[in-house]
Amino acid sequence: MLKRLYRWVDLRIGAGEIVEKELTGYLLPRNINEWYSLGSVLLVIFVLQIVTGMLLMVYYVPDADKAFKSVTFIMNEVPYGWLIRLCHAVGSNMMVAVLILHMLSTLVMGSYKSPRELNWLTGFILLTLVQGISLTGYLAPWSQLSFWATTVATNSANAIPVIGPDLVEFLRGGKLVGAPTLGRFFALHVSVLPVVITALIGAHLFILKRTGISTPPFGASETDKPWRTDSYHYQSHPGGIPFFPNYALQDLTSICIYFAIFLAVVFFAPNLPFTPDAFVPADPFKTPAHIKPEWYFLANYQILKIFPSELLGLSVQAIAMTFLALLPLIDRSPERHPMRRPLFLICTVAGILLWIGLTVWGHFS
């Protein structure tokens, strides 16, 4: 039956040709490893975020007077509302975590190097956009945590010279965080950012397909030809393994492992993404003690606290982010094996330890 249906479709749109070109005939390096499957895991997470987000919009009311009540209603009254909401809240954290792992693996394996500068850059922009969509969604429940975390986050733009105060007012839609802030953050969260992120994912995959997948620097490599800059060519992997079924199985394994971790958090540690302030409705006249941003902003938060001036703190972060975004243009050596790049390895390990240290410090400070 399925075979007949496939043949019917194949006769009309040439499905077999697509399968041959994109799946069974799409060859990957023989020494490809598990880390390459994180992109597929991220795609699954993004789709799940879109689906759970659409479902939440059925009951969520983006009105400052009703938002908290509607979230409480979803959590306590709607059948399985807690599951949909927790999947969305935990999923947003997991998406940032997996995205960081994906970028770290790209960094360590030197896959960001020429000719994949555009892939790195689009990936880097995607990381900042995913942080942006998480930040805008953070305000949606209109809890004390949402309200004050957004107040602190938007306030940091004050440090920008000349335009700072106007920029803060523009971001908030008023002098303080209020109903207009919820309106614009909600619009960004559910319409603008998802569209931009989808378009960038498309661009990221298009570039990947046009350039060809990189060969890991570990294990036996079948293609050691250096990249030539005189003309465009697709980096193929003759004699490699087919994407389907070989690597699709690895993708599926990684997705299953992800789901095991994700569902373990949803069912056994559902309060992990929340602090007690997340269960109290927003009160603009009562600032809770020790308000902290999400874990992935803790390092940025701590940097702002360390430096005597906020402008200096912001500048350091801007320089670090620009350096990371332009890394493929700065680091031009063709060598990709981390053990043969001691300076790079030391800087990367030191950078990761610094980020973890600042995050832990930010958490306990």
Partner: protein, 139 residues
């Protein structure tokens, strides 16, 4: 041959597990989107008889849908579903002519719900009511 058997068995297991996972994911979504059963219940509604003069109609929500209570010029009380039996629009009370008009396709109903003209295939559904000590209990 033995390998084929194993492959087929594993394929069936995988298909079964996928189907089970799909059902496990779809069931909460279905329940999440299903309206709460309490919203369409048929509880009783009590109105004061003095609220409704002769020749007037009062619209209200009953059992999750629109309903209407009318006191005819002869003093008779009638409770009807206000949902037109043609395509589900809400009928309007035409006080001057003492009948119900559906504004969607001009269906006309009498005060007891009977179809007078137009496309409605059935009369308006009657809702039972009782009148005791100046209180009208609907349902």
């Amino acid at each position: 041959m033995e390998n084929d058997g194993r492959r087929k068995f594993l394929g069936v297991c995988l298909a079964g597990a996928t189907a089970a996972a799909a059902v496990a994911a779809a069931y909460p979504v279905f329940r999440y989107l299903t309206p709460k059963s309490g919203q369409t219940g048929t509880g009783k509604l009590v109105l004061s008889a003095s609220e409704l003069p002769e020749g007037e109609a009062k619209f209200f929500e009953y059992a999750g849908a629109s309903a209407v209570l009318v006191r005819t010029k002869t003093g008779e009380l009638v409770a009807l579903s206000a949902v037109c039996t043609h395509l589900g629009c809400i009928v309007q009370w035409v006080k001057e002519k003492q009948h119900f008009l559906c504004p969607c396709h001009a269906g006309l109903f009498s005060t007891d719900g009977t179809v007078l003209s137009g496309p409605p295939p059935k009369p308006l559904v009657k809702i039972p009511l009782t009148l005791t000590e100046g209180k009208i209990t609907i349902g």
